[in-house]
């Protein structure tokens, strides 16, 4: 028993670089050799899926991209899956960005899904409006008069010359909004300044750390579900029946979480043994 306690104490005082190494190995192995753990869709993800599934064909949907490469593993699979779903159901997609980096992320997703997978026509099936500075002021601008805010698209084409922009004046002309967000400005600003005042339904995909912040809006019905972090993205991929990066990432995340929990348990065991011994002496 004493040998075991000594071993736990020794582990408790281990250099943090060993922890880094163990975690790196725990993450790498499932990435190289996926385990294929089952993905169970949560209620919030199902609501997002069903809301998009129930939109009438040819609905005009605004997709807003608010993340950067740092959260790409979490947010990008959501954008890919949502775009797939929208194009599969023949909806018209309008893409805006509240973050400057979001423009690059959106372009990458549109190239993969709209151009390569579905062969959609730019200007007829989708429009890429891009980034405008101003945070919530941009959201308010889209709500009141999108044409005043966006006179040209990302490719510097005049909005008036894009056929899909015919009849689009403000936010109320859209049937649905999906915001893929990693922070400020993002989902919260869309709820407060756009979806809630106008009554246009919206859903969102957020990083795991943001879920706490947006959950009250989901529970109150101001948002139609939420994709919560990489698990949310993986669940959406499962509902779409098309596995992607999020699904393959979930094995690594599962093992990493388990390893962290084991570290916490070992750390606490060492803490208790140490406390017991210090009381004894």
């Amino acid at each position: 028993m004493k040998a075991l306690e000594d071993l736990i104490l020794k582990i408790g005082k281990v250099d943090r670089r060993w922890i880094f190494l163990v975690l790196a190995i725990a993450v790498f192995i499932p990435i190289i050799k996926p385990i294929g753990m089952p993905i169970r869709a949560t209620e919030t993800t199902k609501v997002v899926f069903n809301t998009i599934e129930n939109l009438p064909e040819n609905s005009k949907v605004l997709v807003s991209i608010e993340y950067s490469p740092s959260t790409k593993p979490e947010n990008h699979p959501m954008t890919i899956s949502i775009l797939r779903h929208l194009f599969r159901n023949n909806h018209k997609v309008f893409v805006t960005c509240l973050w400057p980096d979001g423009q690059f992320m959106a372009q990458d997703a549109l190239k993969q899904v709209a151009e390569e997978e579905f062969g959609k026509v730019y200007g007829e099936d989708y429009v890429f409006l891009g980034f405008r500075p101003g945070n919530e002021a941009v959201v308010k601008g889209i709500v009141s008069n999108i044409r005043k805010l966006y006179t040209v698209d990302v490719y510097q084409t005049k909005i008036d010359e894009i056929p899909l922009m015919d009849g689009i004046k403000n936010f109320k002309d859209f049937a649905f909004l999906f915001s893929c967000s990693a922070g400020y400005p993002g989902t919260v600003e869309w709820v407060q300044y756009a979806a809630d005042p106008t009554g246009v339904p919206m859903s969102s995909g957020v990083t795991s750390i943001q879920v706490n912040e947006v959950m009250p809006y989901v529970q109150s019905g101001q948002m139609k579900g939420v994709l919560a972090g990489m698990p949310g993205a993986a669940e959406y991929e499962a509902l779409m029946g098309q596995k992607g990066f999020a699904t393959s990432g979930m094995d690594a995340q599962s093992i990493a979480h388990l390893v962290i929990v084991l570290f916490i348990i070992l750390g606490n065991a060492a803490f208790f043994i140490e406390r017991k011994r210090s009381r004894k002496y």
């Binding site: 101003g134 510097q156 795991s208």
Partner: protein
Amino acid sequence: MIWKRQIPILIVAFIGALTLFGWFVEEPNIQAFVDDDATQWYDILASFAIILGAMNLMKMQIQKVARQKKGWPYSIVAIFGFLFAITAGFFIKGVDDSVAVWGAHVTTEGTLFKWIFDYMFTPLSATMFSLLAFFVASASYRAFRIRNFEASLLLVAGIIIMVGRVPIGSLISSWVIMYIIVLALGIGVNTWKKDKKITFGVVGVGIIIVTVAGMMTGWPLDKPAIFYLPIIQEWIYYYPNVAGTRAIMIGVGLGIFATSIRYILGIEKSYIGE
């Protein structure tokens, strides 16, 4: 003095009041101001603020290099990075006008700016964020300790969320959780009564009850649902978490309201340096 103090306060009070009442007044001109003009003013001011911010950044970094303050070599990298991005953004596109016009070049494949984003910014940004996983692991190992009731509650909730959110959580049977609860109950009874017989009695009875119940129901993975990790984590997200977040949101909202009123009434004057 009047131009430095009274006039700015008057402008803030007037614009603040107008913007606030614009939400409540059915007057098209006021609404147009609040919805369109004021937001465009904000955009213009924000653009100037970016220029000022950039100039300030350069000034600070150049001063750091000139005076060879601690970490000055990093400032050289910052200065070169800044100048490189400015050059790629405003002076050298890297492609002809037939490929991308100025403005569109920012996101067009083959341009210098896109190259910077793809091969410098993206890897650096992703690396910095990825390192968080290692620090989280190390920090939770050292800091997550069962020191008191609140810390224990936080620890248990954290573990449930961490395991319940990922697929591995859905593979853990609710019966395993019930056995763990019985053992935890045993620890609690032992700490309270400090009697081995009572502790063994409680643990033994608990294990028998769970085992008999499991054999009778056929050990379903996700039943009883209240002991199934994905269900428990969903409950934590939906109720205790939302309750706490709402309280914070209401507090923040009241704080913003109070501060706004202070600005409109001219009580808060930090923006003029008072």
